[in-house]
């Protein structure tokens, strides 16, 4: 990359979720008196920080096109282990390191299974979740004993004007963003998420990248467990279950594609803020738990849909104005295309894709030309449907 870091994220994609955060804040401030008071905002930011820190790993794994379903019991086991170690009088600091090491190790096993043994991420992390649940149950014997160490409680709940955990979150945000944009690992995450095979052929350390991402996911889930143990002062079984859906939801609401290769942690932070504001506003307005569940699902659906529309609109936009945009064109172009043809799982009815292709001034690819195409020919996935519709007669399409 001679031109320096090429952005995988368009400014608009970051601006939209943050604009929604501001809109939600203003709306909640008008609807609920005292919503924008500093004490409430500080409580809000603490809640957002927990889910935001837990979602660091989930963001990386989703950027790779994977998923980590072992978050709930990774988190839970970390909390149970942390309070349990207090009873065995492990030195302060050592217990912290043991728990973090456990998260890292279990995450690494996830990564080994996914990268080396080719086990589907969904099943690998699902199985790992079950195993960690068993370990947590056996370790705690059903009822976790002990209290969180003082420094963890201070870290989770303390702070003067700005809570410590929010400062920690901000530091992590800076570190993660810099890592994703400037390091070899971060660039590999996007490349592998866009097209694993192309990355492999380009000589990127695909397997190492995947393993690192899952290890980080385990680490941040364990960190989240430590913080939550500090928040409630103790640990209980099932405390992680409430974090599976949100850890994925905040990433999706931020606009990161779960198909991989598109998005950033900055957007996830906006997603965490947005969901926390909406949830808090609903509680203060008096919407009960069932209503919150329904709205939670609705928000995810709407944001995922908008995100999906934004992708196809962008393609149409490029097809229409691509030639006139000149220097801006490279900036507007979907970055994934630089890494090679990306199968984004588009339906055969996807028209935007063809429009982009026809905009290029080059000779149409061989497989697109009607005169040379033969039905028995090997063809790129996802293309057959379009062509079949274009070139087939009604007789061949009757079903």
């Amino acid at each position: 990359m001679k031109q320096g870091p090429h952005s995988y994220v368009r400014p608009v994609e970051v601006a939209v979720p943050y604009a929604l955060v501001v809109v939600a804040l203003v709306a909640a401030g008008i609807a609920v008196p005292g919503f924008l008071s500093s004490s409430h905002l500080s409580a809000l930011s603490i809640t957002a920080a927990y889910i935001g820190i837990i979602a660091i790993g989930q963001t990386m794994v989703l950027l790779l096109g994977g998923i980590d379903l072992s978050v709930p019991y990774m988190l839970n086991l970390a909390a149970v282990l942390l309070v349990g170690l207090q009873l065995s009088h492990v030195a302060a600091g050592t217990d912290f390191l043991i728990v973090i090491g456990l998260g890292l190790g279990a995450g690494l096993i996830n990564g080994l299974g996914v990268a080396l043994l080719d086990i589907a991420p969904l099943v690998m992390t699902l199985g790992m979740n079950s195993i960690l649940e068993g370990v947590a149950l056996i370790y705690s014997n059903g009822s976790p004993q002990g209290n969180a160490p003082n420094f963890v409680t201070t870290l989770s709940t303390g702070g003067t004007t700005v809570p410590y955990v929010v400062i920690l979150w901000f530091v992590l945000l800076v570190i993660v963003t810099l890592a994703l944009v400037f390091t070899r690992f971060g660039r590999s995450v996007y490349a592998v998420g866009s097209n694993r095979r192309a990355s492999d052929l380009s000589g990127l350390p695909v397997k190492r990248t995947i393993m690192t991402a899952y290890a980080i996911s385990g680490l941040t889930a364990a960190l989240g467990g430590i913080l939550l143990a500090g928040y409630s002062g103790q640990a209980y079984l099932g405390m992680g279950d409430a974090y599976l859906l949100p850890s994925i939801a905040v990433v999706v609401i931020g606009g990161t594609s779960i198909l991989g290769g598109r998005g950033s942690y900055v957007q996830t932070v906006a997603g965490a803020l947005l969901i926390t504001i909406i949830e808090s506003a609903l509680i203060t307005v008096g919407v009960d738990q069932p209503g919150q569940d329904v709205l939670y699902g609705g928000v995810i659906l709407v944001m995922a849909y908008l995100n999906q529309v934004a992708v196809s609109d962008r393609r149409r936009h490029i097809a229409l104005f691509g030639g006139a945009m000149g220097p801006l064109r490279g900036w507007l172009q979907p970055v994934a295309r630089a890494g090679g043809a990306r199968d984004d799982g588009g339906e055969p009815t996807d028209e935007g894709d063809t429009a982009v292709k026809s905009d290029d001034k080059e000779e149409p690819a061989r497989w697109m030309r009607a005169d040379v195409w033969h039905w028995s020919q090997e063809e790129p996935a996802g293309s057959a449907g379009r062509r079949a519709r274009r070139f087939s007669t009604p007789a061949t399409r009757s079903s």
Binding site: I67, V123, G127, G134, V294, P348, A384, A388
Partner: protein, 345 residues
């Protein structure tokens, strides 16, 4: 591939079979193995009570797994299975306490199918990835369940309990075992002997090729989600019969349990390859695991670890199996191509 591209209608179901049965052998072998371990632990006694416990445990999970199989065969995933089970369970309990009786059952099945239809419409027309779409609808359905029945309660008709639990009259054979067999047979017929089933497998194998072949991809995919909703509703009804009441937290276990049973049953998460019988056997494996641990006197806490290891191990076994067979196929293909070139020269 056929040599005739201009086909009037897509392939008929009759006589079409695909060699996917070997994928369900693993779960069959696991069932046999676990059953032997169970017998050796229990001192070679296996009576009606034990069979009743295992089959009653397995039936709801098997129904959920069958529903999940339809969706996974289309290369999707349905994470709202658990919530659809919950919503049908609580609806059944509330409707019966309002005196709906058998008509309530019809309404419950319709609600399950409608929930599945909504999933399918969202996946097909809003084009949100199935994982996110069903995760979101899962939250929505759970919210509605909690609105319908905030805390466990309600009643379930007695005849329904008689039909889902207990033994077949004057024998030791549990009625849930009969339903397991019926599920397998019906699932086999739907998947192998109807046009829907064949098109479903074609869709999972290659969406673009199915489209070219004239299969209405959208319709088949939506029907798969509807089937998942219907199976979840059945599972919710069975759970209602077993527990004699409604419970808004009852479905949570089945979200991941169903996926686990499908994976143990040998259905490929990449879509297109799988069997209903495998998923049913996978559900039996998971309930046998807890039965074996129980009879061995081990803490039930070990159940989670063993289940996790079995799920990962099953998928590992299948990926190794696939790799070996693809290597073998590659070898034979190379052999054929070499011999044809020789023939031409």
């Amino acid at each position: 591939m056929s040599a005739e591209p201009q086909r009037e209608r897509p392939a008929r179901a009759v006589g079409l079979t695909r060699p996917t049965w070997h994928r369900s052998y693993t779960s069959g072998a696991l069932v046999a193995l676990l059953f032997l371990i169970y017998l050796s632990r229990s001192g070679w006694t296996f009576g009606g009570i034990e069979a009743l416990g295992i089959t009653n445990d397995a039936l709801p999970l098997a129904l959920a797994a069958v529903g999940e199989t339809f969706v996974i065969l289309t290369n999707g995933i349905d994470l709202s299975i658990g919530s659809m089970i919950t919503i049908s369970n609580v609806t059944l309990a509330v409707l019966d306490s309002h005196g709906f009786g058998a008509f309530g059952l019809v309404i419950v099945l319709a609600i399950g199918a409608a929930a599945g239809l909504i999933n399918g419409l969202i996946v097909c027309f809003m084009r949100i990835p199935p994982l996110i779409a069903t995760l979101a609808t899962s939250s929505i359905y759970l919210g509605f369940s909690l609105m319908i029945l905030p805390s466990p309660g309600g009643t379930v008709p007695q005849w329904l309990s008689n039909w889902t639990t207990g033994d077949i009259s004057s024998s030791n054979f549990p009625i849930a075992g009969l339903w397991l067999v019926v599920t397998m047979v019906v699932g086999w017929v739907v998947l192998r002997r109807t046009n829907f089933g064949i098109r479903l497998q074609a869709l999972g194998g290659s969406e673009s090729s199915s489209w070219s072949a004239g299969i209405s991809v959208v319709r088949v995919r939506i029907l798969a989600y509807v089937a998942a909703g219907l199976c979840s509703a059945l599972a919710g009804v069975v759970l209602g019969g077993l527990t004699q009441s409604g419970d808004p937290t009852i479905g949570a276990v089945y979200l991941l349990g169903a996926v686990a049973a499908v994976v143990v049953g040998g259905t490929s998460l990449a879509g297109g390859v799988g069997t209903i019988a495998g998923s049913v056997l996978g559900a039996v494996v998971l309930s046998l695991v807890s039965a074996v641990l129980l009879v061995s006197g081990l803490s039930a806490n070990y159940q989670y670890i063993v289940t996790g290891v079995i799920v990962i191990g099953a998928l590992l076994a299948h990926s190794v199996q696939t790799k070996l067979s693809s290597i073998a196929a590659e070898r034979s293909r190379r052999f054929v191509s070499v011999s044809t070139t020789d023939g031409q020269q």
